[in-house]
Assembly symmetry: C2
Homo-oligomer: 340 residues x 2
DNA sequence: TCTGGCACTCGACTGTACCGAGTGCCAGTC
DNA sequence: GACTGGCACTCGGTACAGTCGAGTGCCAGA
């Protein structure tokens, strides 16, 4: 197990060169491009050890070495510092995000920005309803037996659902329903609402009870249970960089995975506070993404987290740069939301 | 120019075989698989003419023939009948679309359905705001100087915008603003609103005028001028079928084009009543899509059109089947909207 | 006008040879 | 004991030649 400093330096050099050139790197090229202070032969011995330990591998007998997923993992954990952003990148982030007019706008701008800066596929989760609280509920009569329920969350999200009432409800009753619902629910987190919604029905006047029951069912079903998450995606064209060498030749599984909201949510939606999660290749639970890496983090106003965002790319990616960008973007978005 | 019936039959056979096998088709294979009633030599002569006229071409000197964009065009215009849907497909459409709970749901289900049935990339435009009329406007105070404007259209679309007021507005004034706006605008088409909105400001009580001006600016700007269109996309993974032979080897330009909302709208948003538009390869104005074909049509309740939908695939596609599917789906969606 | 026959073309595939990057190993040196 | 230079070896990539066969164009004849 003895991985002394030089061996680690060799691994770092291999990762950096391979990420840059996308070609297996040999011992000679390595000593030429890095100040390792030893000869190629020595490096070769180190490489043999690294290979034995599973950090690098040879695509063919007479080729250079390529990092394994395990090698990238070691690199990320112990061999790299998060790269500070360039001023240009900072400016790009600011320029891109100021002037967003609403949440949709913020999310769309963010996802495009991320895709552009990292040159990878970017995913941004809308602020999770479960982590939002109710700012306002609006009931708009569509017909006598149909209401449009509009919920405005403190995160800026607006969700609407059609409610089919069991019986016609006159306009003034709708007003009552609206008032009641707002009184009870405004300010509370959606994840905490079930008992409140329950109480709502019980406390309603008898003639409102039928309508309120339907209403609360819709509320619970669509906003809490089926906790509606939304996502924005951008930069799929970036998958084609690196001319099909990445992703072992087929974009198919990746594109398929990207179409599954559930999958994406799993990837970026499980953020923990102030952590940047890096999943490398095989570490990914989703089979389709075994050839990809994901860098994700949570975002939100202040220190709370309301959603996740991240990027997906080949395992051969610039981890320090990507991590820095993802973090920075998340922070800016959080600030933006805090102004809300 | 003399394209007699047999030459047309030959072209049709070439298109059908090539679409099925994805391989250049030769004269011998052609007479074997189709009852043309003549010998390969005769077919060869016909092919020579078809090639001269630009309907087919030879990838290499000693290979079979492949249809050109022009050949597909002739095929679509004169040589194919729209294939009736199979009962299975009909059932799939019905099964897929019933049970949609709101517009978002309808659109998402539709786009997935289209992608699945045609095995291509599907695009569905949300009902255009320009073609919708106002069902209700809601103003929700966020703070004393901020309102959330929620517009509900008759097509089911719900749009929201944040309005920054120039000065604090008390709650009862908000009620007045809401009432006024609804009185004037409900029932009118968004594209017809500019004069109405103008009148709105003029008829407001003096103390409301400032707020109403801001409000109407937001209304006009975001809902009319920048006429906000939304899109849903699905099936990008289908681009990878045909193993990179389609799209001359690179998905890049296609994926890039698919990320541009403007481009997609141009493709499917210019629907005319009861027409199915087919754009084949070169006919496409967007350079990135010169290797693709697009089949699109409009949809809407009854005979009106509120939006477009369509699919994008390789020029080598099953036009009759795709056209039939696109039409059928559009019709079903229209019916669904009509029930609204 | 159609057909059979024939010479021709050229991509796809196969086998051979060669080059060179890169390796593992070993004996020698500090 | 750790490092180095040297050397034989491996093997992917490329270039080249040869063969095969699908497919063509053309032409004479029915």
């Amino acid at each position: 197990m003895g991985l002394d400093d030089r061996k680690l330096a060799v691994l770092r050099a291999i990762v950096e060169d391979y990420v840059a050139t996308q070609e297996p790197v040999g011992s000679k090229a390595l000593v030429e491009r890095h100040q390792l202070g030893v000869s190629p032969a020595t490096v070769r011995n180190d490489m043999a050890v690294l290979e034995e330990e599973g950090y690098i591998r040879q695509p063919h007998t007479s080729a250079g070495r390529v990092p394994t997923d395990r090698g990238y993992r070691l690199f990320v954990d112990r061999l790299s510092r998060v790269k500070p952003l360039s001023p240009a990148e900072r400016r790009a982030i600011e320029r891109f995000l100021v002037g967003a007019v609403d949440l949709d706008d913020v999310v769309h701008r963010t996802v495009r920005l991320l895709a552009q800066l990292t040159r990878q596929v970017a995913v941004v989760q809308y602020p999770s309803l479960a982590r939002s609280s109710v700012r306002h509920l609006e009931l708009v009569p569509i017909s006598t037996t149909r209401l449009m329920l509009v919920m405005i969350a403190d995160t800026g999200r607006v969700e609407q659902r059609l409610v089919e009432l069991p019986a016609p409800v006159p306009a003034e009753d709708v007003t009552d329903l609206r008032r009641l619902a707002n009184e009870k629910l405004v300010g509370s987190r959606l994840s905490d609402t079930p008992p409140l919604v329950q109480a709502l029905v019980e406390e309603s006047a008898p003639h409102l009870r039928g309508a309120m029951t339907t209403l609360s069912t819709v509320l619970l079903e669509t906003l809490v249970e089926r906790h509606e998450e939304r996502l924005a995606l951008a930069g799929t064209a970036n998958l084609t960089r690196g001319g099909l060498l990445d992703f072992q030749g087929s974009l198919r599984p990746i594109l398929e995975a990207l179409e599954e909201e559930v999958v994406l949510l799993k990837l970026i939606g499980e953020a923990e506070p102030s952590t940047t999660r890096v999943l490398i290749g095989d570490e990914n639970e989703i089979d389709n993404l075994r050839a990809a890496s994901v860098v994700s983090t949570g975002y939100g106003p202040g220190t709370t987290i309301v959603g996740g965002l991240g990027v997906l790319g080949p395992t051969r990616m610039d981890y320090p740069g990507t991590i820095a960008t993802v973090r920075a973007v998340a922070r800016y978005v959080g600030e933006l939301l805090a102004q809300n």
